[in-house]
C-alpha cells in the first residue's frame, strides 16, 4: 500500500513515498502501523508522537489529507498523505509543538474554594467532558485558535510574527473552553469559581463562537451542545457588550 509521509528535518520539508507491507492479507492498517513500520524499515529517524496505541493518551494526532486523525485508531488507505497537524507549529517530521495550548490555561484552573464534602456525584455532562483525551483534533478550522496566527495557520506566518508557545497562546480553542466548562459544571466548584471560569472563556475569545459553524471533537464529544452553547448562553449580554 503506497502512502506519502511529509517529513521535516532542521526546517527542510520533503514528501516521502512509503510502501506499506501488510502483515496479513486481511490487514487494514491504522496510520500508526504505517509509521511504526516505516521507522523499523528504512526511516529509523522518523519523528512522530505516540503512546498508548489505544486512543487514550491523545498524543498521536496527525493530518491525513489535511484533516486531523488519531493515528493509532484511524485506518489509512492507498494514496493517503500523512502530515503534521497544521494547526500547531511543526518541529520535526510529524511532531508539532503542543505546549502553547496547555500554557494558556495556567492560572485559569482554580475552582476557588471547593466544597468540603467530597462525596458528591457529578452530573453526566461532567463525565462526558472528562472523556476529552487532549488530542487537539478540534483545533482544526477553529477561528478562535486561528486568531493566534493572524487568522491563518502557524506555519504560514513569518518567523518574526509567530507567537511564543512558551508564553501560552492568547486565544482559546474548543479544548480550553471544554476545560473551563468542566469547572463550571463540577458540583464542587464555588460560585466564584464558576464565574471566574466564564471570565476566562471570554478573555480567551468566546466571542469567536458567535455565529461560528462549530467545532468537531476527535472522540465524539458533543462540543457544541455541551460546551459552546452553555457558555454562550451564560455569557449572553456580556458578549454583546464586548462585540
Amino acid at each position: 500500500m503506497k502512502v506519502e509521509i511529509v517529513t521535516r528535518r532542521d526546517g527542510e520539508q520533503e514528501i516521502v513515498a512509503y510502501d506499506y507491507v501488510p502483515r496479513d492479507d486481511s490487514e487494514k492498517p491504522m496510520i500508526l502501523d504505517v509509521l511504526l513500520q516505516a521507522q523499523a524499515n528504512g526511516m529509523p529517524d522518523l519523528a512522530f508522537r505516540y503512546g498508548c496505541r489505544a486512543r487514550n493518551c491523545g498524543v498521536c494526532t496527525v493530518d491525513i489529507n489535511g484533516r486531523p486523525r488519531i493515528a493509532c485508531r484511524a485506518r489509512i488507505k492507498e494514496g493517503d498523505r500523512i502530515s503534521p497537524m497544521a494547526t500547531l507549529p511543526a518541529l520535526s517530521d510529524l511532531v508539532v509543538r503542543r505546549d502553547g495550548v496547555a500554557r494558556q490555561m495556567r492560572g485559569r484552573l482554580a475552582t476557588a474554594g471547593q466544597g468540603n464534602d467530597l462525596n458528591v456525584s457529578a452530573p453526566d455532562d461532567y463525565h462526558a467532558l472528562t472523556g476529552c483525551i487532549e488530542c487537539y483534533a478540534c483545533l482544526h478550522e477553529c477561528p478562535m485558535h486561528a486568531r493566534n496566527f493572524d487568522g491563518g495557520l502557524p506555519d504560514e506566518q513569518a518567523v518574526e510574527d509567530r507567537p511564543d508557545p512558551a508564553e501560552g497562546y492568547t486565544s482559546g480553542n474548543p479544548f480550553s473552553l471544554l476545560k473551563l466548562q468542566r469547572i463550571r459544571i463540577d458540583p464542587l466548584t464555588s460560585e466564584a469559581g464558576k464565574s471566574s471560569a466564564l471570565d476566562n472563556a471570554i478573555d480567551l475569545g468566546l466571542d469567536a463562537c458567535v455565529g461560528c459553524k462549530g467545532c468537531k471533537c476527535g472522540v465524539g464529544i458533543d462540543l457544541i451542545g455541551k460546551v459552546i452553547w452553555p457558555m454562550l448562553e451564560a455569557a449572553g449580554d456580556r458578549l454583546a457588550e464586548k462585540g
Binding site: 523499523a40 493518551c57 493509532c72 505546549d99 472528562t130
Partner: protein
C-alpha cells in the same frame, strides 16, 4: 554548532508528570519549594492517563477493612518482599491520597448509604476485601486531575517534550559521599540542553515495559529511564526480576497486539483458562493473582499446548449461557473494566465480544514491581536488610512505578494509582524538606561539565547502526529470554545480547541538528533499556526459583514458608554491575497459614459452584450478582475511542 546549554536552579526537580510526578510536585510546592516538573511526554500523558482507572480506597467496600488488613494483604501477596514500613504507609495514606485526586476534580460514583465512593462489585484478584473504586472515563479522569495540578502552576514550573537524561552528583565537601547536585535535560522542542542545579530530584518516570514491545499494554515512554538514571548515579535497585505480566492481553490483530482486555476479576465466577486442546489449565480465575494466570498460560505455551499466537484461551462462556445470571454477567463485564472491554469488542469477533466464544489471550508486560530501592518516604536507601537513607544516594527520591519495594513479587490490581498518590506526596514532601536543609549549598558547575561534553558529542555521531532498529532487536530478545518465563541459559543469552548492543552504541548514527532529534531520543532510550535489562538479568540470575512475576522453568517454586529475600542490583563506574541478596522479614507462620486457609476456602467455594446442576447454579449466581451489583441499569459510559466516534467524522453539529 554544538547544542547550546541553558542553566537554571530549583529546590526540587520532579521527573515525570503521571500520577506520582504530579502528586510529588504539588506536595513539594505546597511547602513553599520552587519546583520544576520535567516530562518527556506532554503533561499528564502517561500510564496513569491510559489506565483502567481503578484505585484502591481502603474501607470503600466494607467496614471490616482496616489499615492492618490492607497492609498485610499487600505484603503477603508480594511474597513478603515488600517492606513493612512501606505497606503500612500505603495502607495508612490510601484514603487521604485518593482525596487529593478528588480535590482536583476526580468524581467517582458515591454509595449514598455508606457515604463513600462505590467500589467494584467483586474484590479484584488477590484482594481480601472489595476496595477497588472504578471511574467513568477510566484513567483519562485521573489524567485531567494530574494535568490541572501541574498546569495551574502554583509554585510549579514545567517543561514538556523534555527528556531528563542523567543525574549529576558531586561531593558536597571533600571526604563525604556524593550527593545529587542536579541533572541534564534535553529539551527537544527548543533544541537545547538544560543543566538544572538542585539538591533534590524525585524520579517518577515510570517503568520499563517497552523492553517487551509490542507485547505490552503500556505507554511507549516506559524505556526504563527511571532505573537506568538512578543506577548510573550509583543508587541501588531492588527486586528487578519482578516484572508483572498481565495475563489477559491480545495477541492479534496486529494493531491491537499487547493491549489489555481483562483482569482475573473479569472472568467472574465461572471463567476458566484452557489450552489449545480445550483442557482447563486454571479454574477459579477471578480469585487468582495476575502472576498465577500469566504463569499458567506461559507454562502451557512452553509445553506446546499454547494457542496459535502463543497464548491460551480465556473461556467465560459458562458465565454467559445461563438464562437468569447470564445477563448480569454481561453487565458486570461491561462495567467492571470498561476500557479493556471496549478494546476486546473492537478487536475480536462479535461472538467473542459477547463472551459466547473464548478469547485468545497472551500475557503482556504491564508493570515493574522492582525499582529504585527506597524507604517509606521515597528516599534512596542502601545497606543490609531494609537499608537506610544515610547509606543511599542523598538527594534522590522516587515514587510510583519507578520505586521498588512496595509490591514485591506481585502487585494487586488497582494499587498503582493509589501508590502514585501516596508515595508521590511523601517523596515530594521529603524532597522539599531536604532542599530547605541544603539551601545554602554551593554547586560547582564543573561537576556538570564532563556529562554535558559527552552528550554534546553524541549529536553528529557517525555510524552504521540505527537506534530504532537496535531497539527492536533488544525487544525481541527480551521477550524470549527475560520475559514471562526464564531459564539460566536464556538469561545468559540475554546478557550476551546486551553486551553486543552495548558495543554498538558508539556506532549509532545521530544527525547533528538540535531541534527534536528523534535519533538522539532513540539513542538515549536504547541506552536506558539496555541498562535496565541488565538489572533484570542480574536479579533473575540470582533468584533461581519461581516467585510471583519471576517464573524460572528450570527452578522450583519458592515456598511462602522459606526465608524471604530481595535481590539488590547496583552499578559503579569502576566495578560494573553487581547483585546481592538482602533479607526480608517473614510474616509470622500463624498468619501465613490463616491466609492460605482463607484463600483455599474462597477457591473451594467457586469449585463447588461449578459442580452444581445447571438450574441451581444459575439461581445461585443470580443471587450472588444481585447481592453485589443490585438490580439497577448498566453504568453509562463515555467511550473515547468507541467505534461510534471516528475522529473528526461522527460529531454532532
Amino acid at each position: 554548532m554544538p547544542i547550546e546549554v541553558d542553566w537554571c536552579d530549583y529546590d526540587v526537580v520532579v521527573v515525570g508528570s503521571g500520577g506520582a510526578g504530579s502528586h510529588a510536585a504539588q506536595a513539594a510546592a505546597a511547602t513553599g519549594a520552587r519546583v520544576l516538573v520535567v516530562s518527556k511526554d506532554p503533561i499528564g500523558a502517561s500510564d496513569t492517563k491510559i489506565s483502567e482507572g481503578l484505585a484502591t480506597v481502603r474501607e470503600s467496600g466494607s467496614d471490616d477493612d482496616s489499615e492492618e488488613i490492607l497492609s498485610e494483604n499487600l505484603k503477603m501477596a508480594g511474597g513478603d518482599l515488600p517492606l513493612n514500613a512501606i505497606t503500612d504507609a500505603f495502607a495508612a495514606d490510601s484514603k487521604e491520597a485518593y482525596d487529593i485526586y478528588r480535590r482536583q476534580g476526580l468524581r467517582p460514583e458515591i454509595d449514598d448509604e455508606r457515604d463513600i465512593p462505590k467500589p467494584l462489585p467483586l474484590p479484584m484478584g488477590g484482594h481480601t476485601r472489595r476496595r477497588s473504586v472504578g471511574h467513568r472515563n477510566s484513567g483519562i479522569a485521573f489524567g485531567h486531575a494530574n494535568w490541572n495540578m501541574i498546569v495551574q502552576g502554583e509554585g510549579i514550573d514545567y517543561l514538556e517534550d523534555s527528556w531528563f537524561l542523567d543525574l549529576v552528583t558531586d561531593q558536597a565537601e571533600a571526604g563525604t559521599d556524593k550527593s545529587v547536585v542536579g541533572g541534564i535535560i534535553y529539551h527537544a522542542a527548543l533544541g537545547r540542553l538544560i543543566a538544572v542545579k538542585t539538591s533534590s530530584v524525585v524520579i517518577a518516570s515510570g517503568g520499563l515495559s517497552t523492553l517487551y514491545f509490542p507485547k505490552t499494554d503500556t505507554m511507549r515512554g516506559n524505556t526504563g529511564d527511571s532505573y537506568a538514571i538512578a543506577a548510573r548515579a550509583g543508587a541501588d535497585l531492588v527486586d528487578m526480576e519482578q516484572v508483572q505480566f498481565l495475563p489477559f492481553c491480545l495477541a492479534s490483530p496486529p494493531s491491537y497486539e499487547g493491549l489489555l482486555v481483562g483482569e482475573p476479576v473479569t472472568a467472574s465466577y465461572l471463567g476458566v483458562l484452557r489450552d489449545k486442546n480445550g483442557k482447563v489449565i486454571l479454574d477459579g480465575v477471578f480469585l487468582r493473582t495476575r502472576a498465577d494466570c500469566s504463569s499458567a498460560i506461559m507454562r502451557a505455551v512452553e509445553d506446546g499446548r499454547g494457542s496459535p499466537n502463543g497464548g491460551a484461551y480465556l473461556d467465560m462462556t459458562a458465565n454467559k449461557r445461563p438464562p437468569r445470571s447470564g445477563p448480569y454477567f454481561m453487565r458486570f463485564v461491561e462495567s467492571a473494566l470498561p476500557s479493556a472491554y471496549k478494546v476486546a469488542r473492537q478487536a475480536m469477533s462479535k461472538a467473542a465480544g459477547n463472551c459466547e466464544e473464548p478469547w485468545e489471550v497472551r500475557p503482556s508486560a504491564h508493570y515493574m514491581m522492582g525499582g529504585i530501592r527506597a524507604d517509606e518516604h521515597g528516599a534512596s536507601v542502601a545497606g543490609d536488610g531494609d537499608g537506610s537513607a544515610g547509606a543511599g544516594l542523598a538527594g534522590l527520591f522516587t515514587a510510583g512505578q519507578a520505586m521498588g519495594g512496595v509490591f514485591g513479587a506481585n502487585r494487586l490490581g488497582s494499587t498503582s494509582l493509589t501508590e502514585g498518590a501516596v508515595f508521590g506526596r511523601r517523596a515530594g514532601e521529603a524532597a522539599a524538606h531536604l532542599a530547605r536543609k541544603s539551601a545554602t549549598r554551593d554547586t560547582r558547575e564543573e561537576a556538570f561539565t564532563p556529562m554535558i561534553e559527552n552528550i554534546r558529542r553524541r549529536f553528529g555521531q557517525k555510524g552504521d547502526s540505527a537506534a530504532a532498529v537496535l531497539k527492536l532487536e533488544l525487544q525481541k530478545a527480551a521477550w524470549i529470554n527475560i520475559g514471562p518465563v526464564r531459564t539460566a541459559d536464556r538469561i545468559a543469552e540475554m546478557e550476551r545480547v546486551l553486551s553486543d548492543l552495548d558495543a554498538k552504541l558508539d556506532d549509532v548514527a545521530v544527525p547533528g541538528y538540535a531541534e527534536w532529534n528523534q535519533a538522539f531520543i532513540e539513542f538515549e532510550e536504547l541506552r536506558n533499556l539496555i541498562a535496565s535489562a541488565r538489572g533484570v538479568c542480574l536479579a533473575s540470575r540470582e533468584r533461581d526459583g519461581s516467585l510471583g512475576g519471576h517464573v524460572r522453568m528450570d527452578g522450583k517454586q519458592i515456598s511462602a514458608f522459606s526465608k524471604p529475600y530481595s535481590t539488590v542490583v547496583s552499578h559503579s563506574p569502576g566495578g560494573g554491575w553487581r547483585v546481592r541478596r538482602v533479607n526480608r522479614d517473614r510474616t509470622p507462620l500463624k498468619q501465613i497459614i490463616a491466609f492460605k486457609i482463607q484463600d483455599a476456602k474462597r477457591k473451594a467455594a467457586v469449585k463447588w459452584l461449578r459442580m452444581l446442576p445447571a438450574g441451581m447454579q444459575d439461581r445461585a449466581l443470580e443471587k450472588k450478582y444481585l447481592a453485589v451489583m443490585g438490580a439497577g441499569g448498566t453504568a453509562k459510559e463515555v467511550m473515547p475511542g468507541g467505534a461510534d466516534a471516528a475522529v473528526g467524522e461522527a460529531t454532532q453539529a
